[in-house]
């Protein structure tokens, strides 16, 4: 139950700039054959969409945690949701980044 003392994190949306930056990180660390602006923000990262496998997604996770100072944990927030698409990942970064 929310009380006045609770301070729920606002649902921050990522900017196009941040999405672009994250897309560039992904292209670089995975040597993807697409360019950053070809990654559709809402397309799934796994399977049908960008076609990443779980090890690719791990690599992305390691790179973005380092770059933005995130603390990703297996029992943390809904990681599957976070890594669903470029947009969801960027939104998460926008809300949680420490640098």
């Amino acid at each position: 139950m929310n009380t006045m003392q609770d301070n729920p994190k606002p649902n921050i949306s990522s900017t196009a700039d941040l999405q672009r930056e994250v897309a560039e990180l992904m292209v670089e660390c995975l040597n993807l054959e697409v360019t950053a602006d070809q990654i559709i923000p809402d397309a799934p990262l796994y399977g049908e969409g960008l076609g990443l496998d779980s090890i690719d997604v791990l690599e992305v996770a390691l790179v973005v945690s380092k770059r933005y100072g995130l603390q990703l944990r297996s029992d943390g927030a809904d990681n599957r949701q976070v890594f669903n698409s470029l947009r969801s990942l960027s939104d998460y970064i926008a809300a949680q980044r420490t640098r």
Binding site: I55, L58, A61, R73, S74, G76, N79, R80
Partner: protein, 312 residues
């Protein structure tokens, strides 16, 4: 995938993992009621059953043994191969139940393991469907830091977990189901805590990219996923196999396989290829040393791009 306890011989032949699950279920039932010595009589029936009613497994066995023994395999060789498989599956029941007193283990290269663990960053322990990986539990009994978390395909993880729960509820927490970011993060956390993550790296857990190698003088393909993960997480990799020597005897071997701790990103691909090639060499070496311990009962030897191993 749902389990098929009544799967017929064709399904057994084509899906080794399901056959071993079914066998484990049967063996658990028998073992817990009859004890190891009596239950081993049943193993002969199982070996005979495979020999007679699993033609695809028999062909795969014959093909493999021909390569490993360097001569055409005879019926008694095939029988011994199936019997060895049944015996190791059966012994899992006791190993999971921590009945190490029943066995005689000789251990080679354990110092490699301890030296690398002393770094405190954990390591990957890579085995194969070669002998028994479960015997690692016998090593773990002496050292608390040797708890191994097995990483495997989620479908199998669920099946094996329910099986382990039936045998020994305490054994369950040691399995990580492959496939999602959470499990990958669990692997990293396990390693960060100085722990061991185990994998059987000779079969692909899905649509993994394959890398062509030579094993027993012929073309085969190995999945690169396990090594990619080790390279990405920059950890040492130790090879392990627990070879069944007959009776109650096992020989457990540890071999240094690769160390990605200090590999720069630009050198990662080369290091990865060197690691897979070394893994293939170790498989070759131990297949020749203990030929009846190879438990891939499907057509493992295929030229590049055509191998379709079952989900592991």
């Amino acid at each position: 995938m749902t389990p098929h306890p009544t799967a017929g011989q064709a399904a057994w032949a084509h899906t080794p993992e399901r056959s071993s699950m079914l066998m484990l279920r049967v063996m658990t039932w028998i073992s817990l009621r009859l004890g190891r010595r009596a239950a081993r009589g049943v193993l002969h029936l199982i070996a005979a059953y495979f020999l007679l009613f699993a033609p695809a497994s028999r062909r795969a066995s014959s093909d493999y043994l021909g390569r490993a023994l360097g001569r055409p395999a005879r019926w008694r060789d095939l029988y011994r191969h199936f019997f060895t498989f049944a015996a190791t599956i059966h012994d899992r029941v006791y190993l999971v139940n921590r009945r190490f007193d029943l066995f005689d283990f000789e251990v080679h290269g354990e110092d490699t393991l301890h030296r690398l663990l002393a770094g405190g960053k954990g390591l990957f322990l890579m085995g194969a469907h070669l002998g028994s990986f479960e015997v690692i539990r016998a090593i773990g009994r002496k050292h608390q830091d040797l708890r191994v978390a097995m990483l495997m395909h989620e479908d199998n993880a669920q099946k094996i977990n329910s099986m382990l729960a039936a045998i020994n509820p305490e054994a369950v927490q040691d399995i990580i189901g492959l496939g999602h970011i959470d499990s990958m993060l669990r692997v990293r956390e396990r390693l960060d805590a100085g722990g061991i993550v185990g994998m059987l790296a000779d079969r692909t857990p899905g649509n993994d990219t394959l890398y062509p190698v030579q094993i027993l003088g012929a073309d085969a393909n190995l999945p690169i996923g396990p090594f990619r993960m080790a390279a990405l997480l920059r950890r040492p990799v130790v090879f392990m196999t627990g070879l069944y020597l007959g009776g109650n005897r096992y020989a457990i071997h540890f071999e240094p396989l690769a160390d990605f701790s200090a590999v720069a990103r630009g050198q990662r691909d080369a290091a990865l290829q060197a690691a897979i090639t070394r893994y293939a060499t170790l498989l070759d070496q131990y297949c020749r040393k203990a030929p009846y311990n190879w438990f891939n009962f499907f057509d493992f030897w295929q030229p590049a791009d055509t191998t379709m191993p079952p989900k592991s």
